[in-house]
Structures are given as structure tokens and as C-alpha cells.
């Protein structure tokens, strides 16, 4: 018995450590790819540069960026862009549901709604920056159809510009949601919908009680992804369409980071803003994780 127990214990010990060994290469890659930049970012954020290469350390960078009204206005714009997420989600869910019902030409429509998503963001930005000019295509169209009073300086008016960017983002991104939701709906048992129809359930009741619950996990995923995108993936739109203007009305956090790091030569301040952005994104993910757990608990 004791003869067996020894090797068995050793085997268990070996089995316990061996997985770590096999995981080591991946762990090293992850450390190098994510760990090193993260540590470097944190170090840069607390490094205060002096003249001709001298440095000091402290929290001065954080104090400085938190006192910056431009950063506050940029964060506010990110929050405004957050409002695009529920709009995109609702539009995408409704369109996906309609397409799932195989309306005439649904395959064509499915391709069409996905086209904006596969276009490169800078291309979209450039095209829309021309369309939305004061004498651009949109205003010319409005004038042609007798709606001249609706023509605006879409990108030149500081009250409107961020909402113009907002609309372009919705236009470009909602197609991804449609495809995601359609994929999920393809796993919905058609018999359920047929049975509901037999029971004389109307479109809305079928949607509310069958389709929507089936889509719930994907909606939650799409919402989370959308929020993170609005926080840290909108630089391209703003950079190409408005470059933060007019009068700083369309700055977003990423643009602040980019300009501080690369235009102003202030990588330490950029690092401080990045740390704050990372902290906020982490907070969002934590909240999402808690919500997900709660949903799972309710479902179980």
C-alpha cells in the first residue's frame, strides 16, 4: 500500500505542476504582450519629465490631467457616444428579427446592412466629412426636396458636430449587431414560433416572449462591446471627420491621449489619461460581469 502511495503522491504532485510548465510559453507571451506594456504604462504615468531629459516621479501627471477641462469635455463626449449603443442595439434587434422572418429580398438586405461595417473607418469618415459639409451632399439633397430649412452645418456647428459623428457611428456599427443577432436567431427552434402562431400570438408577443429572451445573452454581449467601443474605439471617426473641432466640441479621450503622446510630446500625461481610461474600462467590465452573473442566477 505504502509502495503505491509514494509514486501516486509523486504523480499527483507532478500532474499538479506539469500543466504550469505547459502553460508557461503562453504565459510568457501574454506577459510580454500585455504585462510589459501595462507595467511600462504605469511607470510612464508617474514619471514627470524635466528639461533636456531630466525626470522625477510622482502623481503630478494625474493631478494635471484631472484639472484639464479638455479631458472633462472629452469624457463627456464619450458618454454622449454611449447613447448610440442602445440605439444601435434596438435598431439591430428589430432588423435582425425582420430579416429572420424571411421577408422578400432578405438575403440582399442582410448584405446591404452589413456593408457599412466592413468599410474601413477612415474611408467612412472621409466620405461622411464630404457628405456633411455645409455645401455637401446631404444639404444639397435637402434643398432639392424642398427641406432647405433642415440644412445645417453638420460638422461646423459646435452644437451639432458630436451628434453628426454619433449618427455616422450608428450607421456604420449597427450592421455588426444585425449579423450577430441573426446568427443567434438561426439557433431558435422554428417550432416555437410556429406554435406561438398557432396559438394566435401576434408579432409583438412572439418577439417579446420568444425572440427577445433568446437574444438576451447576445444583446448583453453587444451592449458591452458597444460601450467599450464608444470608450476606446472612436478615435478614427473623430480624427478623420472633425479632428476634435470645431471649438473642441468633438474631442474624445483617445484623441486627447493621441495628441498628448504624439503631437505635444507628452507621453507621460498621455499615459496618465490611458491609466484612467483603462480603470474606467475595467470598471465597466466588472459591472458587466456582475450583471451577467445575476442574469445567470436568475435563469438557473
Amino acid at each position: 500500500m505504502s509502495q503505491l502511495a509514494g509514486p501516486a503522491r509523486a504523480g499527483r504532485a507532478g500532474n499538479g505542476a506539469t500543466p504550469y510548465l505547459w502553460l508557461a510559453p503562453a504565459a510568457v507571451v501574454l506577459l510580454a504582450v500585455f504585462g510589459y506594456p501595462l507595467v511600462r504604462l504605469l511607470l510612464e504615468s508617474v514619471t514627470v519629465p524635466g528639461l533636456m531629459g531630466e525626470t522625477d516621479h510622482g502623481l503630478e501627471n494625474f493631478r494635471s490631467v484631472l484639472a484639464d477641462p479638455l479631458l472633462r469635455s472629452a469624457v463627456l463626449n464619450n458618454l454622449r457616444l454611449f447613447l448610440a449603443v442602445p440605439v444601435m442595439t434596438v435598431v439591430a434587434v428589430l432588423l435582425a428579427t425582420l430579416l429572420h422572418e424571411r421577408i422578400a429580398g432578405w438575403r440582399f438586405y442582410r448584405s446591404i446592412v452589413f456593408v457599412p461595417y466592413v468599410m474601413a473607418i477612415p474611408v467612412v469618415g472621409i466620405i461622411f466629412s464630404y457628405i456633411l459639409q455645409r455645401h455637401g451632399l446631404l444639404n444639397e439633397f435637402l434643398e432639392t426636396v424642398g427641406l432647405r430649412s433642415l440644412a445645417q452645418d453638420w460638422l461646423g456647428d459646435s452644437q451639432l458636430a458630436i451628434w453628426s459623428v454619433w449618427l455616422v457611428i450608428v450607421w456604420q456599427q449597427f450592421g455588426f449587431g444585425v449579423v450577430l443577432f441573426l446568427a443567434r436567431l438561426s439557433s431558435l427552434d422554428p417550432a416555437l414560433l410556429e406554435a406561438a402562431k398557432v396559438d394566435r400570438a401576434g408579432w409583438w408577443r412572439r418577439f417579446w416572449h420568444i425572440v427577445l429572451p433568446h437574444l438576451a445573452p447576445i444583446i448583453e454581449f453587444f451592449l458591452t462591446l458597444g460601450l467599450i467601443n464608444m470608450l476606446s474605439w472612436v478615435f478614427n471617426y473623430v480624427y478623420v471627420m472633425t479632428n476634435g473641432g470645431p471649438a473642441r466640441s468633438t474631442y474624445v479621450t483617445e484623441l486627447v491621449i493621441y495628441q498628448q503622446a504624439f503631437r505635444d510630446g507628452l507621453p507621460n500625461l498621455a499615459a496618465a489619461v490611458s491609466v484612467l481610461l483603462l480603470a474606467f474600462a475595467t470598471l465597466l467590465l466588472t459591472v458587466q460581469s456582475l450583471v451577467r452573473r445575476r442574469i445567470e442566477r436568475m435563469e438557473s
Binding site: 505542476a17 528639461l51 494635471s64 459639409q133 461646423g156 505635444d264
Partner: protein, 474 residues
């Protein structure tokens, strides 16, 4: 460099110490991971912290890498530069290696260089827009003093106004490469149609307002401009913002901390600009088109006047004819010694602080100021070298001759090259863009500019110190 290197290398003191296949304890595994991470990180750190010096000091052999710019504002620069490099290499002037020149894009001119400077691996010669837009990299430690590598005779032959823009701490940092006479192009035919004398453009503010009013009444857009890409702010403040200054020192006093950005001396230009906006002299889509689109309005004869630079004005003249294109200075409203001025700021080439070929780089820069090369550059792209040996007889357009005469007789000052760039980005651009809004006010614009200065002072104390130390070249 940042404390991470020594910490990583300290992991190297923990060998695995266990043969493969032997069961490993968690501690050994973690130690192993630490060592592996250290081994992976160290080469990268060493390459990031090391220099590119191949042992040759300031004359190391190998290609001399030049990152230049200019095609965007002086069409033909690329052909000129490539031809010069080919000739220079063929002549064997530099026996230690060839010159290799790479044209840079506007958007990445600074970002690419600063990334290279961070890694201390990049060009030996770097192009910068002039003045503080080059000195910022001097203050970062990315640039080597030119005056440590060239003779006093060479420095003396450079245009003094051009030298002043990148002269700091008793050293010359940038080599003035070409100057960009900055003025307004106007359409003589539109002036004539509006009942104005096409050969006598407005010189005072009252004349300017009268001319713009007449042009507007004749049915044309008086001023064609684009401000969506933000560049116009730097132009407007440089055209209008220094007319109450008595010296360039007045411009930098605000940034030294001697005074606030307030009072007539500093802010009257905003009232003047607001007057132009309120009277509807600019195109109504100024905020939704880019700078070059605004300038194109002049070329397509949709606007009578536009902001422009020497090579571009010459291009207009060659394309539209000298009977159509005229050049005018900014009309005078101010009372300072710099009120009537002609700005001809210079773009510069610099030697990088991390270059192992600094003497060779200096030699190449001197070559660009040889008479035959200066003449070739002017003929290729219309760019004038700020050098006392540049012969005015080489000039071959009316616009060039007119601007050359102005440069000889008037103060040369371009505001943009004396203020820190964040002042423009955070103050001038948003402040002036506010002015173009229906509810924009001068007070709000001034407040935005002062806030930008305060922010810059808070964020960049090192640059504030650099300004306080700045003694202008007389």
C-alpha cells in the same frame, strides 16, 4: 532608463535548477517563469535603451539617413531633394557612406520622429517646421546643436531672422532650409470688377474693410478659407495677432509668465477678426472644409482673397497668370513696431541627438546652402533658401520679386514660430473656431486662450523654464 530594466535583469539571478521531466514545485515554476520573462524582455529593453552608434563616433560610416518634408507646400521639392542626394552621392563628397533621403508625410512628421527618438534609432537629419515647433524637440533632448558642428562663417551666412527662430541657449539648433513668405493672394480681375484698383491692394484696415465690402457687393466671396482641420488658427493669429507688438520679445513675454494674455496689445486682433466674420466676408462653410479646400476656392475663382505661402502663390501666378494673381500683405490695424510686417518663417533641418554621424550630417546640411544647390532648389520648387548668398537675380516671378523686396525692408515675424504649440491647439484654434459660431464672443475666445496658457504652464513646467531662459538672437 525607467527602472524596469534592472528589475527585469534581476530575475536572471534565479536559474531553473531543475532538469526537465522532474516534477516542479509551484515556486520553481514561478521562478522559471520569472527568468523566462526576464530573458524575453531583456533584449527588447537593451535595444530600446541602446544607441545605434556603430563605433564611429560623430563620423560613423553607413548611410546618412535624412527625413525631410516640403513637397506638400513646395511642389517639386521631392524631385529636387532626390536629385541632390544622387549628385552628392555620385560626387563622393562623403567617403564614409551615402545619403539616403525619405520624404515624410505631414501627419506623421512629428509622431514618426518622436517614436524614433524614443528608441534612439532613426534619422541622422530631421526636418521640422520652424521656430518652437523645432525647439520643442530641442527641449526634449532630441536635437544636437548645429553650431557645435559647423563653422562660424557658415552660421554668419545664414539669414539672421531665420536663425533667430531656432536659436536658444546661445546655440543654433536648426539650419534654415527654406523660407515660406506668407501673405495673401488676391484676384486682380475680381478687384477690378468690384471697382477696386487691382494694382493697389488694401494696406490699412479701413481700406481692407472697404475692399471686402465692395467685393461682397459684387457677388463674390471676399475671403476663401477652411478651418475644419484646425490649421487656419495658426495662420490667423500670425497674420493679425502681433500687430501691437514692438518686438518679438513681446510675443514670448506671455509664455515666460511676464504678463497675461489680455489687453489691447494681445487681444485686439480678435476684435478685428470678429469684425470680418460678422460682416460675412468669409465663405459660409469655413468650419466644414479644410485649409487647402479654402485655398482652392481662390484657384477656382470662387473667392477673391485667400491666405497663402510663397511657393503656392507662385503656383497660382503661373497657372492663372500675373494679370490675375496679386500678392498683398496683411493690412495694418495695429500701432506696434511690428504692425507693418512681412512674415517669411523658415522650415529647418536639424541633426538628431542620437545620430552617430553628426559631423557628416552637418557637412550635408552645409552642402544644401551652396549657391548652385540653392539656385537648383528655387528653380525646382520655388523655395527660397534663407541665406545671404541667395542671389535675388535668380527670382523669376513677380510675386517672388515683390515678396523679396518686402523681406528686405520690413520686420520678419511669424507668431506661430514663437509660441508653444499647445497654445494654438488648446487656445487659438478652439477660441477662433468659437468666434465663427453664431454665438461666439471675443471674451470667450480670450478666456480659452488664457486657459490654454495656464494649462501649458501647469503641464509643461520644463518648457516654461525654457521660455524663461530664451534670449533672442539680435
Amino acid at each position: 532608463m525607467n527602472g524596469f530594466g534592472p528589475r527585469a535583469s534581476s530575475n536572471a539571478g534565479h536559474p531553473l535548477g531543475q532538469p526537465l521531466g522532474h516534477p516542479l514545485g509551484r515556486r520553481q515554476v514561478l521562478r522559471g517563469l520569472g527568468l523566462t520573462a526576464g530573458l524575453v524582455a531583456v533584449p527588447g529593453l537593451l535595444s530600446a535603451c541602446g544607441s545605434d552608434d556603430d563605433g564611429g563616433g560623430a563620423n560613423a560610416s553607413g548611410d546618412l539617413l535624412v527625413w525631410y518634408w516640403g513637397e506638400q507646400e513646395a511642389a517639386g521639392m521631392k524631385d529636387f531633394f532626390e536629385a541632390q542626394v544622387t549628385q552628392y552621392n555620385a560626387a563622393g563628397t562623403d567617403s564614409a557612406g551615402d545619403v539616403k533621403a525619405v520624404l515624410q508625410e505631414s501627419d506623421t512628421l512629428y509622431t514618426a520622429f518622436r517614436t524614433a527618438a524614443e528608441a534612439e534609432d532613426g534619422p541622422d537629419v530631421q526636418f521640422f517646421w520652424g521656430g518652437t515647433q523645432a525647439l520643442e524637440d530641442v527641449w526634449m533632448g532630441n536635437v544636437e546643436p548645429l553650431s557645435d558642428h559647423v563653422s562660424k562663417e557658415f552660421l554668419d551666412q545664414l539669414d539672421t531672422d531665420a536663425r533667430r527662430e531656432t536659436y536658444w541657449d546661445d546655440k543654433q539648433w536648426g539650419m534654415p532650409f527654406y523660407q515660406i513668405g506668407t501673405a495673401w493672394a488676391y484676384n486682380k480681375k475680381m478687384f477690378a470688377q468690384a471697382g477696386l484698383d487691382p494694382e493697389v491692394p488694401p494696406a490699412t484696415w479701413d481700406e481692407f474693410i472697404a475692399a471686402l465690402t465692395a467685393l461682397k457687393s459684387s457677388g463674390v466671396t471676399p475671403l476663401g478659407a477652411g478651418f475644419k482641420d484646425a490649421y487656419l488658427g495658426g495662420w490667423l493669429v500670425s497674420y493679425l495677432g502681433g500687430q501691437n507688438f514692438d518686438s518679438i520679445d513681446d510675443a514670448i513675454a506671455v509664455f515666460r509668465g511676464d504678463t497675461d494674455y489680455s489687453g489691447t496689445k494681445y487681444t485686439e486682433w480678435l476684435d478685428r477678426l470678429k469684425e470680418l466674420i460678422d460682416r460675412g466676408f468669409f465663405n459660409d462653410d469655413v468650419l466644414s472644409i479644410d485649409l487647402y479646400q479654402g485655398q482652392q476656392m481662390f484657384e477656382t475663382q470662387e473667392a477673391a482673397i485667400t491666405n497663402s505661402v510663397q511657393p503656392q502663390i507662385v503656383g497660382f501666378e503661373r497657372k492663372m497668370g500675373a494679370d490675375t494673381v496679386g500678392v498683398m500683405r496683411t493690412p495694418v490695424y495695429g500701432t506696434g513696431a511690428l504692425a507693418d510686417f512681412f512674415p517669411a518663417p523658415s522650415q529647418v533641418l536639424t541633426i538628431t541627438s542620437f545620430s552617430p554621424r553628426q559631423d557628416r550630417a552637418a557637412k550635408f546640411l552645409e552642402h544644401l546652402h551652396e549657391p548652385a544647390v540653392m539656385k537648383a532648389m528655387y528653380e525646382a520648387c520655388g523655395a527660397i533658401t534663407p541665406d545671404k548668398n541667395f542671389d535675388p537675380a535668380w527670382l523669376n516671378t513677380e510675386a517672388d520679386k515683390t515678396m523679396a523686396q518686402w523681406k528686405e525692408t520690413l520686420p520678419n515675424f511669424w507668431y506661430q514660430y514663437y509660441y508653444p504649440f499647445p497654445f494654438e491647439r488648446d487656445g487659438v484654434t478652439p477660441g477662433v473656431q468659437q468666434l465663427f459660431q453664431p454665438d461666439g464672443t471675443v471674451e470667450a475666445a480670450v478666456k480659452t486662450m488664457q486657459e490654454a496658457i495656464d494649462k501649458w504652464r501647469r503641464e509643461q513646467p520644463a518648457q516654461v523654464k525654457a521660455y524663461q531662459d530664451w534670449q533672442l538672437l539680435s
